[in-house]
């Protein structure tokens, strides 16, 4: 419909190296204390999974809970004011054991942080400690998790710096963060994150603060490193071009819930949720005429948009917090009980109102082991 990709080319991509998910989040709910008012429910009932070697893009508007989801997987939400209300985050360790990241003790989560799961933060300018040289910081990351001597750690750091494309890494080790440009700092952050060869990288808008050229370089770098280390990436971004170019699976979030989860080609070809359609429609396209772009609001304000899902006639309606619930809503007696994430087509999950038609439907668990074929990895997304 909107992209060049053909729908339902389901088996064209390669299967991931393992058929077991690396991480699986179920029913994650995190809320924040809001002084006197009611608690802010930052995310509620988030369900998603990531497979090894996969890039999962998480998109959604600002404040919809993307960062909270990512931080929760490292248990980095400050508590208080934050609180993990419910949910599990099952993570498969290197030795095959599956642990619930929200349940293990502090020492265990600390060993996982930076070692199995690493994170790149939204702000490259301030994520490095200003009083230490970048070399010290990379070496620290290495020494925290690997039992190596300093000289060894140093050489690992040099390699990591070279990997992320910093020229003269050995001499640059002694430089301080303020002597680096934003792009270089982001590279240092990536070098730090990758120094311990994590199996999952949480990249929270790794390129938002950078200009387009550097942005492309960073993303290419990530893609290359991903292939080299066989790690999964959870890529948080606002940029649908970036999504189209890099992601295998897309998870669209809105107001703290997952509203759509599908393969990138399926999602771009057949966006199911009106919000996703709105997002895609406001991308300018080459060859389009017209004075202005379509806004998201214009899309979601059309009532017809909400009645296009398969089964619409039976009352299947996409979940949308600003609409009154449909009259035949069957609210379950649980948090987020008015909402269900349902596999509406094979490999395509959409967040729906729990109407009568779906009263007994189990909460779906988005689970796609697909990765894009190598050949198309860098050919898509010319649309932006």
């Amino acid at each position: 419909m909107n992209t060049d990709t053909q729908p339902d080319t389901a088996n064209q991509g390669s299967m991931a190296s393992t058929d077991k998910p690396l991480m699986r989040i179920t029913d994650l709910a995190v809320s924040f204390d809001n002084g006197k008012g009611p608690r802010i429910q930052a995310v509620d009932g988030v369900r998603l999974s990531v497979y090894p070697g996969q890039t999962l893009a998480v998109v959604g508007e600002s404040g919809c809970g993307k960062s909270v989801t990512a931080l929760s997987t490292l248990r980095l939400i400050p508590t208080p004011p934050g609180r993990y209300d419910r949910g599990t985050i099952d993570f498969r360790l290197g030795d095959g054991r599956v642990v619930d990241l929200l349940d293990i003790d502090d020492g265990a989560i600390r060993r996982i942080r930076g070692n199995d799961i690493a994170m790149i933060f939204q702000e490259p300018m301030t994520s490095l400690n200003p009083v230490f040289s970048v070399g010290d910081q990379i070496i620290e990351a290495i020494e925290l998790h690997q039992n190596v001597r300093r000289a060894e750690a140093r050489s690992i750091a040099v390699t990591a710096m070279a990997d992320v494309g910093i020229p003269e890494p050995a001499s640059r080790l002694r430089a301080y963060p303020h002597q680096f440009s934003g792009g270089m700092r982001q590279r240092v952050m990536i070098a730090m994150a990758l120094a311990c060869k994590p199996r999952l990288l949480l990249a929270d808008e790794p390129s938002t603060a950078l200009d387009v050229t550097i942005q492309a370089q960073i993303l290419e770098l990530l893609a290359g490193l991903k292939a080299a280390h066989d790690m999964a990436i959870m890529l948080i971004t606002h940029d649908l071009g970036v999504v189209a170019q890099n992601a295998d699976i897309v998870c669209v979030m809105y107001a703290g819930r997952v509203v759509e989860y599908a393969r990138v080609d399926h999602l771009f070809a057949h966006p199911m949720h009106p919000y996703t359609r709105g997002l895609l429609e406001c991308i300018p396209r080459l060859g389009d005429r017209g004075d202005r772009l379509v806004t998201i609001n214009e899309t979601i304000d059309r009532p017809g948009e909400f009645e296009q899902l398969p089964g619409a006639r039976d009352g299947v309606r996409p979940w949308w917090p600003w609409h009154d619930p449909p009259p035949d809503l069957v609210r379950r007696d649980e948090p987020a009980g008015d909402y269900a994430l349902v596999e509406i087509r094979t490999g395509h999950w959409v967040g729906l109102w729990r109407t009568a038609a779906l009263a007994d439907a189990a909460q779906g668990l988005p689970d796609l082991a697909w990765t894009r074929p190598e050949s198309t990895a860098h050919s898509q997304g010319a649309q932006t």
Partner: protein
Amino acid sequence: MVGMVFLALMLLVCLGSLPWTTSRTLVPVLDQDGQQVLDTRGQPAFSRGPFKFNQGDPEATARLSPGWWPWKDREEKLRLNRAVDAQTVQQIADEHEASTADVLGAIEGPMHHDLKRHWPRFLLGTDTLGRSLAVRCLTGGGISLTIGLAAALLSVFIGTVYGSLAAYAGGKVDAVMMRIVDILFGLPYILLVVLLAVASDAVLDEHISREKTRYRWVQSTAASLISSPQRSATRDDVRAFLSLQFEPSARFQELALDALTAEWERDKGQREETPRRPVGADADTWLSDFETNREMLAAAASLTYPPRKISEGRRTTYDVLVLLLAIGGVSWLTMARVIRGQVLSLKAQPFMEAARAMGAPVHRQLLRHLLPNLVGPIVVYATLSVPQAILQESFLSFLGIGVKPPLPSWGNLAAEGLAELNPYKSHWWMLLFPCVLLATTLLALNFVGEGLREAFDPKRARR
């Protein structure tokens, strides 16, 4: 840089000379005929005299201006001549082929010049009691700098720990901790220092004299005697009680009982008539004899709890320590606030989150990621609070609560000097030199603080 060098010099000189200036002078032991007594090895014997900084002759050498000061009146020149020791006078007299009287009377010419050179208190003059101001300034500097540095360190330590704990704990703990600081801020801090100094002084006094302990012992023993079944009513009973009490102590047997019995024997005559009161007499009987019984108990008490013996030097050290703790314990408030603010803002910095995401344990986050970022403000406030502590010490000494004379500090030296400033004849050197030393030291500290701040700032360190 200049400040650093000056300060280092000052520290070196003042602190380095402390062992010498606080040592004792040795005075030769003289027998009744004024002859030197020889010790067992045939050497002249010496006994320990006053401290070096306290050595001086109030009459002969009081208020002498610095030796190089040209405008001295006749009287001062004569006194100056007499301040030179007899041996040197004799030497000079021999050299100039004059009598010692001539030498002492000379107030002009080469003889006087020679005398001036031999005068030991030449450099900065002497104070009201004829003590060398130079030595006193050195000792005072040592004391002032020690108190300043140590109190500043203490306050920085308390402030940093308190502030960062409050900020790191956050929430209610933080609120309560900071309200405490606010309340302390509201109190006049000098009052707090005075209170602390006076209170700890009292505690120290008690620790040494143990008066209260003795008093309590007497009270409780008296109470138990009154209420005991035998109702000890007479001296005999008290004595019996005491001998029971102190049976294991041979020392008491020998000393106390003998002493008491002797006393008892002495005024036996008067007592003989007094009929022995029956056992079981009421408390009134005891009370009627209370005073004398008490005396016996007090004598026993002073044997049980003798006052601790403590040398003058040790006592002085305690005093200084108390003062230092009081100043340091009061001036950490600003530091705590500053550090709390810094930690709060640093805690929210992404690099702290990054450190956590890296899997750094809490102590490592605090010590390796947070503390280095605090070094700047800590150093700046430390260098600011050193002069502040020195000033506070001076102020307290000026009020007579701080360093107590004869121990000098720049503060009480200046106070003494100020008292000597009068329109008739101003002894300016007594005020000027301590003040100049104090002022330059404070200035140097500021330079050093500035320098350190630049050195710790990575952005400016590598220009």
